[in-house]
Amino acid sequence: MNFRKTAILAAATSVIAIGAASADTIKMAFIDPLSGPFGPSGEAAYTSFQLAAEHINANGGVNGDMIEVTGYDNKVNPKESLVQLQKAIDDGARYILQGNGSSVAAALIEAVNKHNARNPGEEILFFNYAAVTPAFTNELCSFWHFRFDAHADMKMAGITDWIAERDDIKSVYLIGQDYVFGQAVAAAAESQLAEKRPDIEIVGNELHPLGKVKDFTPYIQKIISSGADAVITGNWGADMQLLMKAAAESGSDVPYLTFYGGSKGAVSSLGEAGIGLLYQVSEVTTNLEASDEQYALIEEYKERFPDYDYYYHRAWNAMDMFVAAAEAAGSADPIPVAKALEGLTIEHAYGSATMRAEDHQIQQPLYISVVSDDVKYGVDNIDLGWKLVDAGTISMESAEQPTTCEMERPE
């Protein structure tokens, strides 16, 4: 009898629930690797976006509408991404989230531009949370594209500022992935070092295939025999982890200045050897001062997704900015949202961030941190984590870079 009562009750509540859900769903398509060597990078971001959306929905959603983030596995392949993009559009997504791989982002920007030109009234927006090739907010800039991460030149400005202060660094080795992003990192390092520290010699400039190298030992040995005082790399995902594995095995003891030392497994690969050696430049680290509310969020994330760490704070920034823009515009449609995003400033857990209107590039302070055993939150489920270095805060102004963007805006 009891069971039957419950069943009736359940049926009744579901009817009510359907009634309440007459509010629209805002569909966001997360197109990134969810398997393969870069799967962890995609998965960590996907879970971040999902948790951010959950919190927004729990707080009443966006103008009463609920956000739904769906994952589409693109295997870091530009061609596959276009297939997934079409699938996402067919599923009704108006917002595309992507970040892993500038090769993919370039293809998506082009496809989104084309789609929007051909389908007025059904525009889609591309929120790029991690593809940091500078061109996307310079010569290739698009009204439909917003970048929520500092681009390679901005991050490199942080790294080169730090190197400029270190007189003991006289030679630098550049190693990176052989595609548009890796090349952009190498070019930025060369030009910025030449300007800030012309005395520094670049003793190596190596590009290796993306996600193909299993054993980095020969590369590390080249670095060691080159006698470099520091290494700069933009490697991410498995390429970062394997590079650090080989560095630990070969006993390489120069500082590694990275964009993505926070890639899953990189810190644990080096272990204790990474203390004081592995650096990263990022928009936040979990060990910065923050509110109890933020600490609770970091802990909630870890509890829900124990395989990963709270790393993609920019996922929260992107979602918070989206909500702020949609509420200011009073609509979740792409064009009003895009217009409201331009020049929007939000206060987030670690400070403020502004979406520059000219080129849709987020402007925010950056932080240089180093692996340390004296931290509140470790990563990779070990006790080591990221600690801000002395004078490691790069203000929004010094991180800011000029843009050549000439954007075409819709009427």
Binding site: E206, H208, P209, D215, P218, I220, K222, S225, E249, D307
Partner: protein, 310 residues
């Protein structure tokens, strides 16, 4: 000088790992005529089994149990899958193993998740064996070299110097005769397939913690294994050994060479800023094994030590 020493050390250790992986494939092919597309999947299973066993007991127990488990899985595949398919000829077998590779990958994804697992080098071997030109060489890699050599010697002894080896070889060429002599030929085939898979499992156990243990490791290792087997001569254990070392050395030396095409072909007036002149030897390293494969098929289709043409 440093380049040469490093190239030799890394080349030999990487080459021997390749040999461990490809020896099982070439063994199965030479004994049974089956080109096993799922071979790298057994390599992956070895790494995952080792990860699980290491987690609950220790690496040293995994060292013995994981390959045996992989071998058992292989034997079951032969007994209940391949043997039935065998009646329909080689193409059916090929397609069967092709499908099996996908099946194993998906099962691994379901059981262990899509991302990499944290499979580590045992603490006992996690130290630097020696230092040379400022770089250290890990003890674990020396261990890998020893295991690979022990495996080569053991395999050679089993096949060429024991009665069991003689029967196995006879069963390949004259299965009916061996059957009439009272030996269980299907059982021999099952054992050979099992051993081949166990060897791949052993390679996975050794390599999974040096590299990354994830569901993509089989797909990434697959092509290079076929290069080794074809270059060495299909079905030749000695050939696979030589080819593994050759490819290991080739790749590692290439990474160490910074010279670009413009410097090498300076006499032709190639400009260092041109598309072609800009390419360095080290950036070509990952392509070289496949270049070798193509050249080998053109100029010596039977491979280094192979007896039969493809």
């Amino acid at each position: 000088m440093e380049t040469i020493v490093f190239g030799l050390l890394n080349g030999v250790s990487y080459g021997l790992l390749l040999f461990m992986l490809s020896s099982g494939l070439t063994l199965i092919f030479s004994m049974m005529g089956v080109l096993n597309f799922a071979h790298a999947s057994f390599y992956m299973l070895g790494a995952y089994f080792a990860f699980t066993i290491t987690g609950s007991t220790s690496f040293w127990i995994a060292l013995f149990i994981a390959p045996v488990l992989v071998g058992l899985v292989g034997a079951l595949v032969e007994r209940y899958g391949l043997r039935k398919v065998h009646a329909n000829g080689h193409v059916a077998e090929l397609l069967f193993t092709f499908g099996l590779a996908y099946l194993i990958e998906e099962v691994v994804k379901i059981v262990y998740g899509k991302t990499a697992v944290d499979y580590r080098v045992p603490d006992l071997l996690n130290f630097a064996a020696f230092e040379i030109y400022g770089a250290t060489f890990p003890a674990y890699r020396i261990f890998v070299i020893f295991i690979a050599i022990a495996m080569l010697v053991g395999l050679w002894f089993l096949l060429k110097r024991t009665r069991a080896g003689l029967i196995i070889q006879a069963a390949l060429t004259h299965p009916h005769m061996v059957g009439h002599l009272g030996h269980n030929v299907p059982f021999i085939f099952m054992t050979v397939f099992g051993i081949g898979c166990a060897l791949a499992g052993l390679a996975g156990l050794m390599a999974g913690n040096i590299f990354v243990t994830d569901p993509a490791m089989a797909v990434q290792m697959g092509p290079i294994v076929f290069v080794v087997v074809v270059v060495g001569g299909i079905g030749s254990l000695e050939g696979a050994f030589l080819a593994s070392l050759l490819i290991g050395l080739l790749q590692n030396f290439a990474v160490g060479i910074n010279a670009s095409f413009a410097e090498i072909f300076a006499f032709t007036g190639l400009s260092p800023t041109s598309e072609v002149g800009d390419i360095t030897i080290s950036s070509l390293a990952p392509v070289l094994p496949f270049l070798l494969l193509v050249l080998m098929l053109i100029f010596r289709p039977q491979g280094l030590m192979g007896e039969q043409e493809l």
